[in-house]
């Protein structure tokens, strides 16, 4: 396969291309990008910059900051539940936050889970790009009728007394789960708490780490 000298982000393709879909797709996408650039619609340098941003700037570390603050600051938590887009804005985690972010709170009685059965809607600004499983047929098909079975696939078992609420993201509203603060974390700093907040705990397919599990 030819090395692509125009696109520095393609370098990592070479080791995993097997002459099948990957190399075919690399060529196909390159052809499309070339046409769009020649037409004057896109600037390849901006494409590079976008990729870099999605690889390095946005991610679940942002949501973890939000959750840790909600665990630490009751007034912030109230504001977050009231209007998450507005509450998150002053944290300065991103330049801007979309205006349809909704935070849903887990309690001992209720566990929330987020899905997009129709495509892949996901709160990019606070969690980054969704993992493959979130966009996969098994998750999208089963989350709405067998959420406890889905949780079992993640190794999570909830108490039988905990009801499950599934949010299907069928419009432009986006959801983030506010998981329950683990026991044994009294007096912890927001930084230390944020290390307990996993991506999956903010989707509702996981639980936060316990104090002993923090890296």
């Amino acid at each position: 396969m030819a090395q692509n000298h125009d696109h520095p982000h393609d370098h990592d393709d070479d080791h995993d291309a097997h002459g099948s879909e990957l190399s075919e797709m690399q060529l196909r996408v390159r052809a499309l990008e070339t046409v769009l650039a020649e037409k004057g619609y896109i600037d390849p340098a901006a494409i590079d910059k976008l990729i870099e941003a999605y690889e390095t700037k946005v991610g679940p570390h942002i949501g973890a900051r939000v959750v840790a603050k909600a665990w630490s600051d009751p007034a912030f938590k109230r504001a977050l539940i009231e209007d998450a887009s507005k509450a998150v804005l002053p944290l300065g985690l991103l330049n801007r936050i979309g205006d349809h972010l909704i935070a849903v709170e887990n309690t001992p009685e209720l566990h929330n889970m987020i899905v997009c059965t129709l495509c892949s809607c996901y709160p990019w600004e606070v969690l980054g790009l969704p993992p493959v499983w979130y966009k996969s047929a098994p998750y999208r098909s089963r989350a709405v009728n067998d959420p406890r079975g889905v949780l079992a696939d993640f190794g999570v078992t909830l108490p039988t007394g905990t009801a499950i609420r599934v949010w299907d993201s069928t419009a432009e509203t986006r959801f983030i789960v506010l998981p329950m603060r683990p026991q044994g974390t009294a007096g912890w700093s927001e930084d230390k708490l944020a290390a307990l907040v996993t991506r999956d705990s903010m989707i509702g397919t996981g639980l936060p780490k316990q104090p002993g599990e923090a890296a």
Binding site: T34, L36, K39, D43, L50, T117, S141
Partner: protein, 218 residues
């Protein structure tokens, strides 16, 4: 459209298989496809609803056997051709043979930091909301052959309006070329039993985000 993308409640797809330490992209072209989609949306020549509609219109076998970003690539190719932004022959050749159409704007490197956030889809309300929290509603039994955001499992079902989410661009209208046609958006909550029958887990509740035209009083 009632195609394979509308997966809620289907059987047979197996277990969810999370990948430990999953990278953001599994191959360089995936990042480029994502960024090309974002950059083309930025021009104003295409939009998110057209993007979803193009992916849903892929043949079901192609949809099921293509990776996520391959679907994005195929959808973008289809849209570029459908909306006259490039010819299929140009994409096949990998070079433009005609000048591009005029677009509203072009994403530059300097614009990128401010383009990481989704746009706002809220619009001024053309009329008061028809429903209020607590109202019982029945979703309509609709089967449009074009794009809709009312999933099949939640059609002709009775639920309760839990919240108003403002007035938003209506995807079903956008893809028909009818403009944004803003509609009220509601969170509508269903009992698991209403959706899945007596075998549903007793505690299960599922909500959808439903545009007002999908709903009627129950």
């Amino acid at each position: 459209m009632d195609s394979i993308h509308d997966m809620g409640g289907m059987h047979g797809f197996g277990k969810v298989e999370p990948e430990p330490n999953e990278p953001v992209f599994h191959s360089g072209w995936e990042g480029r496809v994502l960024a090309l989609n974002r950059a083309m949306a930025y021009t104003g020549a295409t939009n998110i609803d057209q993007s979803r509609a193009a992916i849903e219109a892929l043949p079901p076998d192609v949809y099921l056997t293509s990776s996520y970003y391959k679907k994005w690539a195929l959808g973008l190719e289809a849209r570029v051709v459908k909306y006259g932004l490039a010819g299929a022959n140009e994409i096949k050749a990998g070079h433009a043979s005609q000048p591009g159409k005029a677009v509203a704007r072009k994403l530059s490197v300097a614009d990128v930091p401010n383009s990481l956030t989704r746009g706002s889809f809220a619009r001024p309300a053309p009329a008061p909301a028809r429903f209020q929290p607590g109202d019982r509603v029945r979703t309509k039994n609709i089967h449009p052959a074009t794009h809709t955001r009312l999933p099949r499992y939640a059609r002709d079902k009775v639920g309760v309006v839990e919240a108003l989410r403002g007035c938003h661009v209506f995807p079903d209208a956008v893809v028909l070329g009818k403009g944004e046609d803003p509609q009220w958006l509601y969170t509508v909550l269903f009992e698991g039993r209403e959706l899945w029958g007596d075998d549903a887990e007793p505690s299960l509740k599922v909500s959808i985000e439903a545009f007002e035209p999908y709903l009627e009083p129950a």
